[in-house]
Symmetry: none
Subunit: 200 residues, 4 copies
DNA sequence: AATGAATGAGATTTCATTCAT
DNA sequence: CATGAATGAAATCTCATTCAT
């Protein structure tokens, strides 16, 4: 099942080129711009070649989604390994380029079932993974005085990060500075910078 | 409504029907499904009639966006007039049907300049309006012990509300309960329930 | 339901032109040649116009099938009203142009469910109608000494007629003359030519 | 089969697999469904392999046609050798699976010249062969009281058999029973069952 | 105020075929 | 013997939009 759909070698350079072009297009012009034709044009390839690698548009989009998911996983693992994991997590959630893409896929999920399925699975997994690690850190590296459990914390940061990116893309900035400062002060409370001293 | 019989103008019943059908379609199937044809079919009208009222697709979408904006304004005014404005604001931001629509328009903004423009303006206005009113309430109805300025508070609630709706639509729920409880406890702190007694 | 699909007025000249072109193409080059593009080209119209009148290819093909069915009905009624109905029926079944088309639709039915459904209904109706009328004629105009009931007779003539057309199209003629003569002699027996005298 | 190990040539097992898959597809879904890709998928092979064995689609289809022709020849020889050759011939013509395929190739012939050519040649040969043998049997095993020459008889049986299969596939059955019974009674007359006794 | 007709563009997909390895 | 890569053509359908009535 997993391999059934795969055509043209998982590692082909052309395949990668198509994925990259698609991702870029979606990020810059919205998911509705990711048509076979436009993707091909943007990648400098013939439309039929896109279909050679990705028989259906769903196949292509899910592949891009998976690629983005892998990148997100990588970023999160890195974040959670850092000295100030909470800070790093916040930076992950406010990363413009990544979040832009996630938001597009969220929108796409509404009318692309294959995409919805993948996004749902991966989101749930990611949340779990974050919760697990944050759980372990509690009591060691930082505490949660406000009493928000780890999974909830992940939701809060995700939401606040996304609204900043979403509105930022629109050119809306009212209250952003204030919100950002508030989150940072809050994170400082939860995970004081001098933790590092304490560690050494 | 008073002048409902005047067909074709701003107040035509047909016009309203088209707007309603479009909004529904977008909410249920995503903005990419809102084509002239499908809107017409969904409203039980001829495609050309849609173009008669809305010469271009942009015209239609901006009109739906404005209609939604008006509804949002109405909801916010109501919220801010309530006994517990902060609570009411949070309920506004976690309103599924309205937020779903807003999210679709946000996504649409990426490749529809007319929509982007309107969304940007209205978002900024809404933020301002909320900030203004919350400002007035500070010190009277509630305080902001954590030190988050009103505009920032609006951003936080908007973001958290949206992530709950966005993920909820996907079927993702991990951490939602926890986040929701946290926000509510937090709002209780900022705006204690016994405020009502104090008022009377 | 009946009217739901109808676009562009049942009587439009353009519609008729498309139907005619499609029928001709199918007859001359086989059903697989009846694509939107080719039909349009053959009718001197733009491909999109074909889709304007017939949203899907099935719609078009079923329409052509129905048109052919109506023509067949007309021909049969005429045949059965003639002085020598059996002879006329045989001429109906050996009519090249009509049978060619029927054969194409029979082949098409294999992978076009909408067509299969219509062909099945119409074939059954036609058989019934023929059986009814032949029944009435038995004992008056002619008898069936060999003891083949009317419905069976319709099957025999249909089959023999079709094989002659089918093979004739291929260029095969072996045994055709003999078969044709045999049928005619047989029909003469069943329905003697001097029946006319008896009538007057 | 004796030389089965020699792959790639006329006797390769893969080649056979492709032919079998194609024949099945045509029978079940109509000739228009027999594309390189679908045949390959249905046979569990790569599309390019199909082209390796059959450079063009015509090559493939003609090969299937020839394969079917060989099978028909085999069946006919067997039939004509039987105790009641006429009966056996009729069974040959009412064999569903074989006739279904023949009908598809007849339809295909309309727009595939290579197929038309082969079908024409083989049909003519088959008719001849049947006529020859029936000729020899006349006066020995059976007579043709109605005066239909052997070649004509072959045409009649072919036509009646085909119409039964053709309509049967559609789900039409009106008059079939009657026609079948008539043919059988007729054949009984031409070739009485007690012929066997007379022979011994 | 509403609608039927028409059209060019483009989206998605399938196809047969070629070529290099 | 077999396959992966690539491609041009075409099939089917959807779209937004224009125009005339």
């Amino acid at each position: 099942m997993a391999t059934a759909r795969r055509i043209g070698g998982e590692n082909s350079a052309t395949r990668e080129r198509i994925l990259e072009a698609t991702e870029q297009l979606i990020r810059e012009q919205g998911y509705a711009s990711a048509s076979t034709r436009r993707v091909a044009a943007h990648a400098g390839l013939k439309p039929s070649l896109v279909h050679y690698y990705f028989p259906t548009t769903d196949d292509l989009l899910v592949a891009v989604s998976k690629r983005g998911a892998k990148e997100s996983d990588r970023m999160i693992e890195e974040a959670l390994k850092s000295d100030r994991p909470l800070r790093a997590l916040w930076e992950f959630f406010s990363d413009t380029s990544r979040t832009r893409l996630v938001l597009e896929f969220m929108a796409m999920a509404n009318h692309r079932d294959a995409v919805r399925k993948h996004m749902a699975e991966h989101s749930e997994e990611m949340r779990q993974r974050q919760a697990e690690i944050l759980e372990k850190l509690i009591g060691t590296k930082f505490s949660l005085p406000d009493g928000c459990p780890p999974a909830g914390l992940s939701v809060l940061l995700a939401g606040i990060g996304r609204v900043l990116i979403m509105e930022g893309g629109l050119g809306v900035t009212g209250g952003h500075e204030e919100a950002r400062e508030f989150v940072e002060r809050w994170l400082d409370m939860l995970e004081p910078a001098d933790v590092e001293k304490a560690e050494s």
